[in-house]
Symmetry: C2
Subunit: 208 residues, 2 copies
Amino acid sequence: MEVRRVSEAVIRRMPKYYRQLQVLQAQGVERISSGKLAQMMRLNASQVRQDFNCFGGFGQQGYGYNVNTLLNEIKGILALNQTHVAIVAGAGNIGRALASFDNFEQQGFSITALFDINEELVGTQVNGKPVLNISEMEEYVKQNNVTVGIIAARRSAAQELADRMVQAGIKGIWNFAPIDVTASVPVENIHMTDSLICLTYKMFHNVG
Amino acid sequence: MEVRRVSEAVIRRMPKYYRQLQVLQAQGVERISSGKLAQMMRLNASQVRQDFNCFGGFGQQGYGYNVNTLLNEIKGILALNQTHVAIVAGAGNIGRALASFDNFEQQGFSITALFDINEELVGTQVNGKPVLNISEMEEYVKQNNVTVGIIAARRSAAQELADRMVQAGIKGIWNFAPIDVTASVPVENIHMTDSLICLTYKMFHNVG
């Protein structure tokens, strides 16, 4: 399927459709209208139809969407019908939590190793995955077809790690260090504290 | 200061200004123009000025912003000049990682206890914080002026925990369970996997 010029906002909504459809499938719902789906997701129906039209549309006007078919189409678009091999650079608290989080595995992301500079961590295991010396990262990436690099290191090390990952052939970076890294491959910079700060803003300014 | 009708998009940008200004302050920068700040944050200058005008504006036209003053103003707006007491419901991998993450503490969020239903976890400690029985949560919230409730439990328990938290007097909920919870207080639902999925979408569709 040809997919082009999809806006960031649409890309951001795709995982949400995916989640909502998984819930519907689990509930045994076979068919859903764009209006009903929109309502569940607090969007409007034309928004949903527009979003799906970016990918050629998935249904027949006035007939609704088949939940299984739609879920499979979106799964394919999101490349979730294949396994992605990932590594974690940094075996501290965040790195260890990410490696322990089996939810990623269920979505097709297989974290196979962690890397750290700390000799006391190297040689240990996290959730059955080895912690290797950071100096071995590049070789490991090449040997194991790693496509996703997760950065869970301190701020000062993050950009260098991103550069090394890209050099080694990694195709996308998921960064948890508290600094935005840049790369020639797609990057998602996660700032968990931003969300917490937005929460307190709303608490203190009485935003519904 | 009176703050009203600030859009979600502006709220979302405030923590990012806060982070960028912290970097500037650490670099010893004393004054910054909206244009320069915009450039650093990949916004445009009028956007920055508009955002700040939501809060009464912070500078003199053509003269730029004093970094320290601006940082302090934003800190106040975000309620980061005070300590927020938080608890974590769920002492599994995510709950433990959150309680171990000292970054929150630095931002003024003090996680003082975790709660779990699992008797094997109750009585243990995570990063010096006690894991208490979930049945004690309400009483603890009331006794300790807890304002932020963090949900790190399984999907099926999340909404009930949210309801109990609000009943007990919690003012905002930060939810990590893989389901959106709703409440009469502000809620931030975190779906980390959504970000990972957006990353792979971009990798597979060659989105810059």
